[in-house]
């Protein structure tokens, strides 16, 4: 049972480190899909910039959090 639990944790952990960040990524993809249906291919530029931007933002936020804890 412990082994199964560890396997499930490992599989979920492959995709989710921070639930909020994962939700934001999925929302960005959904917004990108919506924008693509309205704007066509140029919407992928917006998609890439948002994805890159959230990466910078969440990394910075975690760095701030961990420094506050020290």
């Amino acid at each position: 049972m412990n082994f199964l639990r560890a396997a499930v944790r490992q599989v979920v952990g492959l995709f989710v480190g921070d639930w909020l960040q994962s939700i934001v990524i999925v929302v960005i993809l959904a917004a990108g899909w919506f924008a693509f249906s309205k704007l066509g291919t140029p919407a992928v530029v917006l998609l890439v910039l948002l994805l890159a931007g959230q990466m910078v933002w969440f990394a910075r936020a975690e760095a701030r959090r961990s420094r506050k804890l020290v």
């Binding site: 082994f3 492959l14 960040q21 990394a59 760095a63």
Partner: protein, 237 residues
């Protein structure tokens, strides 16, 4: 051909990182308790993982429509790649400690103190299977679209063989493998592949086709370096 090159590279590098972690566990058991139990555990885990690759690989490739598959795999690759990239950025900026194979080795050795023989089998099975799950995901995800599964499987297998041979030769944890650099590179590649396929799944067509993956990799790498610089700024310290 171009996407197959990226698939092979991503599968090889990602599998090399995870195989190194699995090797550390097997070496710790083998060098302290003998080789029979950990080798049996490793073989059992590899058989279970091969069944997963064949079953899910075929199921995914043959049953799911191409556009839905690209969107699904692209989304999962993005989540997976961005998670690795996030960790690599924090490690590069000194916020999180680098992964230490020596410490992981010692932790496994400590677990074996006063343990019975079958514990070596279970630890090897668990370690190889859990680390191998990541290899399976990487291989299926990067190879499951664009008919690149055989190429991705080849990349994953080659990485496992290279790491295993190196482990047998040096007989100690591969502490010098630049794991963070590899994870950083794989994070950038997987995030780029994920974006490429997710957008194709939405119906977008990329200018210059697969060459765009290179452009995406440059953008994500630049963004990650920006994140490292922002985190290192003294104002945050």
């Amino acid at each position: 051909m171009g996407t197959q090159f990226f698939s092979f590279g991503a599968a090889f590098l990602g599998s090399a990182v995870e195989s190194t972690e699995a090797l550390t566990i097997v070496l710790a058991i083998g060098l302290t308790r003998g080789w029979r139990a950990p080798l049996l555990g490793t073989v059992a885990a590899l058989v279970a993982l091969a069944v997963l690759v064949i079953f899910f690989g075929q199921l995914i490739v043959t049953r799911i429509p191409d556009s839905a598959l690209k969107l699904l795999v692209g989304t999962l690759l993005l989540l997976f790649g961005l998670r690795w990239l996030h960790k690599a950025v924090l490690r590069s900026a000194g916020v999180v400690d680098l992964h230490d194979e020596e410490r992981a080795y010692q932790h496994t050795v400590d677990q074996l103190k006063d343990a019975t023989d079958w514990v070596g089998f279970i630890l090897a099975l668990k370690g190889v299977f859990l680390e191998g799950l990541e290899v399976v995901f990487i291989v299926i995800a990067v190879g499951g679209t664009g008919k690149g599964l055989p190429v991705a499987v080849a990349g994953g297998l080659l990485a496992m063989v290279v790491v295993a041979i190196t482990g047998v030769v040096v007989r100690q944890p591969l502490a010098r493998v630049p794991e963070n650099t590899l994870k950083y590179a794989v994070g950038v590649i997987l995030t780029s592949l994920g974006t490429f396929w997710a957008a194709e799944g939405m119906g977008a067509s990329w200018p210059l086709d697969f060459v765009s993956i290179g452009g995406l990799a440059i953008i994500y790498f630049a963004a990650s370096r920006l994140a490292v610089q922002l985190i290192r700024r003294p104002a945050l310290a």
